[in-house]
Symmetry: C2
Subunit: 194 residues, 2 copies
């Protein structure tokens, strides 16, 4: 991306607003393109991964999980935060195993999406997995979620009907649709099982 | 959605963590499905709209805007927060006009997406507009953004290349692709110009 001074803001100072048990929020004082100053408040996030896991029968692995902020159960692809220093593929393999019990013989990196650019620096790295084997889940103590399988067409119907509204999952479905149609080609790599 | 006690959390108490100039953050103490208690910290948000504006030549209206939290220029569909008490369609018309200068003869509600279900209650209402007329923008004092037009295929190429990573825009592209293909049909309604 070229330097674009007519759009770009420069950070002057940063102030910590909140160091919660989970959320870390800062307020930056910024210089706007016209030289004026303003403030930007946002969440600092370590980044996350999401996994589109393709079963041999053409279905994909999805979760049903209650999300307290919105107060409803969401249909989502498996996802989770990156641990400090953790490799992104290692995180994808860990989250898929912990939340669903699946391991995969092959993995491909698709791209990245930014869920909330107005008030978070979070990125979500998008991974595809295939050659799946199901084992036992290893849920965290405070995780409660159902693992189900669905066809890509079923996911599309759920979006149309308003039953699937999670942004990271919809973003992954754009990738999934283009990959399954053959328009976009992924670079699959075999992974050892350990 | 049926009552699902094996997934659902119940709020016990709410505590205000941050009342910033922009961000409002709370911490809820919740009862988990197994009876244990835990805490959920998240942003309270008024909700937003995003607009997929279809030009007569087959292109769509997009913006290039610097997003300070991520520190880069993003390609996005026009979007903005709902004012207190504001009708969602009125908000969509206002944001399209203010940010891009376009007015539309016809509008259709597509659906809703949730950008950040882990730590925000934000919803984004997805609207389509057509029969566009360009006028003057009415940007807020602190808004700096470019308005461009692009074909849906160009947007898809940008996603594949990693140049378009905004979650709300990718979610809208899932709608756009299904609408343009004729698989999903929108309920268009004429709007007066005032």
């Amino acid at each position: 991306m070229a330097h674009e001074p007519h759009l770009t803001e420069e950070t002057i100072t940063r102030e910590e607003l909140l160091r919660g048990r989970f959320l870390h929020v800062v307020r930056d004082t910024v210089r706007l393109p016209d030289g004026a100053t303003s403030h930007r408040e946002f969440v600092l996030h370590p980044g996350a991964v999401v996994v589109v896991a393709l079963l041999d029968d053409g279905q994909v692995v999805v979760e049903r999980q209650y999300r307290h902020p919105v107060g409803q159960v969401f249909i989502e692809f498996p996802a989770g935060k990156i641990d400090p220093g953790e490799d992104r593929l290692a995180c994808a393999r860990r989250e898929l195993l912990e939340e669903t019990g699946y391991t995969a013989r092959e993995w491909a990196h698709a791209g990245v999406m930014h869920p909330c650019i107005g008030y978070s620096d979070e990125f979500i790295d998008i991974w595809f997995a295939r050659g799946l084997t199901r084992g036992a889940r290893q849920l965290d103590a405070e995780e409660f979620l159902e693992v189900i399988t669905a066809t890509p067409q079923q996911l599309m119907d759920w979006v149309r009907e308003g039953a699937l509204t999670d942004g990271k999952t919809m973003s992954c479905m754009l990738w999934l649709d283009n990959v399954l149609s053959g328009r976009w080609v992924l670079d699959w790599k075999a992974q050892s099982s350990t």
